[in-house]
Amino acid sequence: MKPGVTGKQRPPRPVAKKPTLRRFHQARWDEPVIFELSVAGQRGVLPPEPESAIIEAVGDPAGDLPEGLRRKSAPALPELSQLHVLRHYARMSQENLGVDLNIDIGQGTCTMKYSPKVNDQLARSPKLSELHPLQPVSSVQGILEVMCRLEGILKEISGMERVTLQPGAGSSAIYCNISMIRAYHEAHGDGQYRDEVITTIFSHPSNAAAAKVAGYKVITLYPNADGYPDVDALASAVSERTAALLITNPEDTGIFNPRIEEFVRIVHEAGGLCSYDQANANGILGITRARDAGFDVCHFNLHKTFSTPHGCGGPGAGACGVTGEIVPFLPTPTVEFDGASYYLDFNRPQSIGKIRPGYGVAQNLLRAYAWVMSLGADGLREVAETAVLNNNYLLTRVLEIRGVSAPYAKGKRRIEQVRYSWERLANDTGVHTEEIGFRAADFGTHYWTSHHPFVVPEPMTLEPTESYSKEDLDEYVAILKHIAEEAYADPETVHSAPHNSTVHKTDQESFDDPDAWAVTWRAYRRKVLRDT
């Protein structure tokens, strides 16, 4: 017996079993805006000074700038010591949930899978990060080989003739495709009158928006009563003015369009091309390919299906696959191999030219390559099948929850995601889907509704990918179930959420008021604080 302990001995007490729901609380550092942390004279990093001989030789060219180009006072940046910068950002990072922290299945359409750490480590190698895009090709054979091999892999996965890796992300890839389609029609002499692009409402909004940017009139097809893209609607929309169909499959509802070949045929018969947005490819890798359904062009989001990290919204990477007819229009340059070494081919007279500086987001191309090489053909099939199994398991479990439904395609299986509806719950309780999302944050999870417009009422889009375990899915379902029960029993708790988040309900009105909105601290000081 330890000294000082007397009387009856307490039996060892086990830690009680964890409750079903995590008692989460998001970090709340209550950080000021960085300008408020400024202390005059502090330094975070010192840039290297030129040697005195340089200064003696040239003086101060900045000081000699003509009056109109010489900055009169230093920019009013905050002044912080290095630790204070680090700490401020480290704290803000803790007020963020990424795949590394949460069961990130709530951001449907975005394929929030695990981004392997080893690939980050490889991508951070100075052998990649310190390469300049204009180095002699003999000095960049490694990265060119990676790009060439990745192109080969994506050609096989899509069935296409060539793949460009230049687009910066998914929407840029959609634009690249429509730009190549425009060039194709112009080269065939009917660019003038083919001025319409057809898409579906359950395809990503960037299909419609990028087509508009490229100068096209956009026709958007709505689904039939079962939620399938409407083949009759397509048939009446196509004409000699049709430049292209831009379509996702499976769509953002997770429903695979079984008549996709017919869609492609109808558009081809009208002389249009077919562009396949493969943002939702995760469930069909190795199962079905763009070319096999007759598509002329397609694109992958490497930050979705191919695991590169999403970086709070980029950099991602896009890859566009094309048939032989479209190859001449690919962006410049292409990466080629002459049997001995890799090189860049700039001599492409029909090319649409450049889509971005350099040749693509090289660090993400490396990550995507490494990811495929860790899996191989069997592994990719396992990815697809598990993503689909996880999704259908989740569907079964979510539908056990009161107030939720999965509209459309009754009795059919879904591919890799589902767009659910809380319509019944909203009608019963007055709790809306956005509020469920705010409440979900209280349990350490991210949740998303849908793109606009909300065709499915009170939508929620879940995509469990292959990365999450059965226990993860069960936990997410338990959170949703709890919130649904709360909505029926105690709606105010949901209405007033979040409670355990970094911040509380934010005034949304000012964001749409030109007199009150403040996109920067200086605007806030001028318009709201009125101290400048």
């Binding site: 940046l77 590394d100 070949e261 860790s374 292959e466 911040v503």
Partner: protein, 465 residues
């Protein structure tokens, strides 16, 4: 033969056959194949994908990828003077530390309530860029400087209701190609000639070309060829006299010492932030910014996210959210302004970290030091026999042209010989600007020492001897 046991993939927890069986039971399916019932047989791939054999262990994967990377020689092993819009700057360790944190690296399009950190850090990025630019509105980054310029020109087209943009003939051909492809349906691009002696825009030509259809006059400061457009203010005035907007591309790392565009009449500023704490990544380190005054007519034309600050239900708490979201394609598809999607947010956060580390003094010092090194390198190279440095009387920032026409060698030959000496010479302008003949575009930053510049000069001397 040893029977192959099923692989349990470390990235795929439910590839475990025991778990898989349990889940199949839960969904009432005998096999995963049943879940694909909607995919017609006619488009099924009836064979296994023909892909290289995988490296199942992490150790073997690393070995493989590193063996590929080993075939690269980077700017660490070679002394590089390559620029042309992508430059080797020192990246402070804290920049990499923050953008490697999983909370930022692996988050995506979260909402303010669970990704407050993303919103605040990008708001702060916008705010620090705003101080560099002396403008009140800066967007969440787009893909790159070329995209930012393209969008800035389309914004100018929408704001003015006009169709023509005038760009300097010194614009990089690659960037021009990107811009032309993007703005085509809305804006016609015309080039304005430059003065061969100074590099500056030919103001007479500008006067002849500008008209009532001109939406934007665009210049770059510094220009692609490295000199500063010292007539910026006059060009802005000409633009405004014709009711056009003055759009200016800048390298933000220059703004500690060079006036931001708004000071000489710029209506829209745009450019690339790769210089602000982001590794070159073989061209993967780009991100673009667009900045304007805080006027509704301008704000309404941004396609990008604009994160703003507001109050919350708790006193003393900052909340963040999307300003004027209804402009975006996320809200209204093709009725939005261009499109918005995944672009380069992590580089925005990183550039914010960089500006916070550098502070006002750091940005002044780095700008001044780069100009000193640039001038020094120009002087030293101009001292070599038969080597000229054109436009030398115009102030330069970071990049400059070196003219080898009087030597007996082409830039290709010179660069090959420099590479043999462990140096990446400036990029070859002979393809991009044939009129300049055999010229190289050299880039000098704060990473270059006097000895580095001396080594370049000696090597060129040796190569030309």
């Amino acid at each position: 033969m040893i029977p192959k046991k099923p692989v349990v993939y470390p990235y795929i927890p439910n590839s475990n056959p025991i778990v898989k069986r349990e889940m199949l039971n839960a969904v009432g399916a005998k096999s995963v194949d049943e879940l694909y019932a909607e995919i017609p047989e006619s488009i099924r791939l009836k064979r296994k994908l023909d892909l290289p054999e995988p490296f199942l262990s992490e150790a073997s994967l690393v070995r493989h990828v590193e063996s590929l990377l080993a075939k690269n020689q980077s700017t660490r092993e070679n002394l590089s003077f390559l620029g042309a819009g992508c430059a080797q700057h020192y990246v402070p360790a804290v920049c990499d530390e923050i953008n490697s944190r999983g909370e930022f690296l692996t988050a995506y399009a979260g909402e303010p309530y669970e990704d407050h950190g993303r919103f605040q850090s990008l708001f702060e990025y916008e705010s620090m860029m705003a101080e560099m630019l002396n403008m009140d509105v800066v967007n969440v980054p787009v893909y790159d400087g070329g995209q930012a310029t393209s969008t800035a020109l389309r914004m100018a087209g929408r704001i003015t209701g006009r169709k023509l943009a005038l760009l300097p003939a010194t614009t990089a051909p690659d960037k021009l190609s990107q811009i032309r492809d993007y703005v085509r349906p809305d804006v016609h691009v015309e080039l304005v000639a430059f003065d061969p002696a100074t590099g500056l825009m030919d103001l007479d030509a500008l006067g002849r070309q500008i008209n009532v259809q001109t939406a934007a006059v665009f210049i770059e400061n510094p220009s692609y060829l490295g000199f500063l457009e010292t007539q910026a203010s006059e060009i802005g005035t000409v633009a405004h006299e014709h009711g056009s907007l003055f759009v200016v591309g800048v390298d933000p790392i220059s703004l500690g010492v060079i006036s931001p565009p708004v000071e000489y009449g710029g209506d829209i500023a745009c450019g690339d932030i790769q210089s602000l704490g982001i590794h070159m990544n073989y061209g993967g380190g780009h991100a673009g910014f667009i900045a304007t005054r805080d006027e509704e007519a301008f704000v309404a034309q941004f396609p990008s996210r604009l994160f703003g600050v507001a109050t919350t239900s708790v006193e003393g708490e900052y909340g963040f959210g999307d300003v004027a979201y209804e402009r975006t394609s996320f809200a209204v598809r093709e009725e939005g302004k261009e499109w918005v999607g995944t672009a380069a947010a992590l580089w925005g956060i990183t550039a914010g970290v960089y500006l916070a580390l550098m502070g006002p003094q750091g940005m002044v010092e780095i700008g001044r030091g780069i100009m000193q090194r640039t001038r020094y390198a120009m002087q030293r190279l101009a001292g070599l026999p038969d080597v000229r440095v054109p436009f030398a009387n115009t102030p330069h920032f970071k990049e400059f042209v070196v003219d080898f026409n009087r030597t007996s060698k082409t830039v290709t030959e010179i660069n090959r010989a420099l590479h043999e000496r462990g140096i990446f010479g400036g990029s070859d302008l002979s393809r991009e600007f044939p009129a300049l003949g055999q010229c190289g575009l050299y880039c000098v930053t704060e990473t270059h020492t006097q000895a580095d510049i001396g080594r370049l000069v000696s090597a060129i001397q040796e190569v030309l001897a």
